[in-house]
Symmetry: C3
Subunit: 163 residues, 3 copies
């Protein structure tokens, strides 16, 4: 790809990531499923209720989001790496806010690790794996923790910075 | 528009959306009003105090934000659709944090629906309509709810995911 | 720079800003330090523990983040202004979530003011200065407040908007 082509395709991939968030908050799951390949493999975590293969299974699985009264998925930190003209890897962050039926709230700070493929000019997610930095409020979904390097053995916390 | 032109104009529109957030947090309302057309129609909600026509009225209306001690508007999920070289529609999401005079906080999860027009090379917002997914803390402003499809009649919540 | 070149370089700068957030949450500080120039001047605030000169000192200083169990830095509102082909200014916003060892949380709403220089084709941060709109939870780090214009003398708060 030349430089212009790469910018165009990067924007197309970013639009898919954005549309996922928009359509999830709107719960337009049939349209959302079209952002994925027919044989997509999606794992928000190892729990079987968070894992699906294929568009139809993904749509059924994401129906779980109706247990929330409302959600807001805010995407950021998008990085795209092209392997070929038809294959790319993407990483992005999501700040997801959820309102439960009783009015209580849940926040989640997640990472999407995606494999994109381009078919007939359209980029779709072929594989999605999710991790999270953490969560707050009533969030209890078992999404696995994101990688974080541990401190060196001789590390000591600075004094008084949080005082 | 060719592909390069479209990327350039999309970036220009994104910059306007970003500047709106920056200038609102800085409360530089005269500069902020310049991001809108002279005859702009802006409705953060149906309440007359949230509605204005024209730049000067928008500037006067947004002076209401001074009742917060501080705000932080974080933009994401930007989507732009061009109708012509001079006309575009945009949707974006905002996570807005507000600090009240007494130190209490209010969070809002909003959507901006914008109509952009280009005049003498400059994109401006001609019409803005706001919706929200919801809010937390002491936020009470009557912003209308964003669209969300209801579950099918036979939907049942999955067991134990939040346990 | 022509228009294509400017879009390409803007994306390269945005990627650096994004990688900073990704690598900080991963605590891969040696890689993070490579995003800065050798002689970088970084000030998250006037406190000496928040200030550093040079890559090695920055890496040592950011080791302070290990006092948090987890963090999530969500970047938004990126603006880039080119001065020359090799020099740019950028402003961006960050919503940073932190989890303390005892499980309590801290939120921070910050702004990065960056000076970028391009050397051998690579953009790096030569100077970073941070400000914040505010914070919530157990956040106590003395990051200086961002600029916000005060209301005019005759300003009065609208009635009932928050009721």
């Amino acid at each position: 790809m030349d430089r212009l082509e790469e910018l165009v395709q990067r924007q197309a991939i970013t639009d898919v990531l954005t549309d996922y968030c928009r359509l999830l908050d709107r719960m337009e799951l049939a349209d959302l499923a079209q952002l994925f390949t027919k044989d997509c493999e999606v794992a928000y975590g190892p729990d079987p209720r968070l894992t699906s293969t294929g568009r139809a299974a993904l749509e059924r699985s994401l129906a779980r989001m109706w247990r929330w009264k409302r959600t807001a998925h805010h995407l950021s930190n998008v990085r795209v790496w092209f392997e070929t003209d038809l294959l790319a890897t993407a990483e992005s962050a999501v700040f997801a806010w959820h309102e439960a039926a009783d009015g209580s709230h849940a926040e989640m700070f997640g990472l999407y690790h995606d494999r994109f493929v381009r078919d007939e000019g359209v980029w779709r997610i072929a594989r999605r794996r999710m991790e999270m930095a953490g969560s707050g409020g009533v969030f209890r979904v078992p999404i696995p923790p994101a990688h974080r390097a541990p401190p060196p053995k001789d590390w000591t916390a600075p004094d008084g910075l949080d005082g």
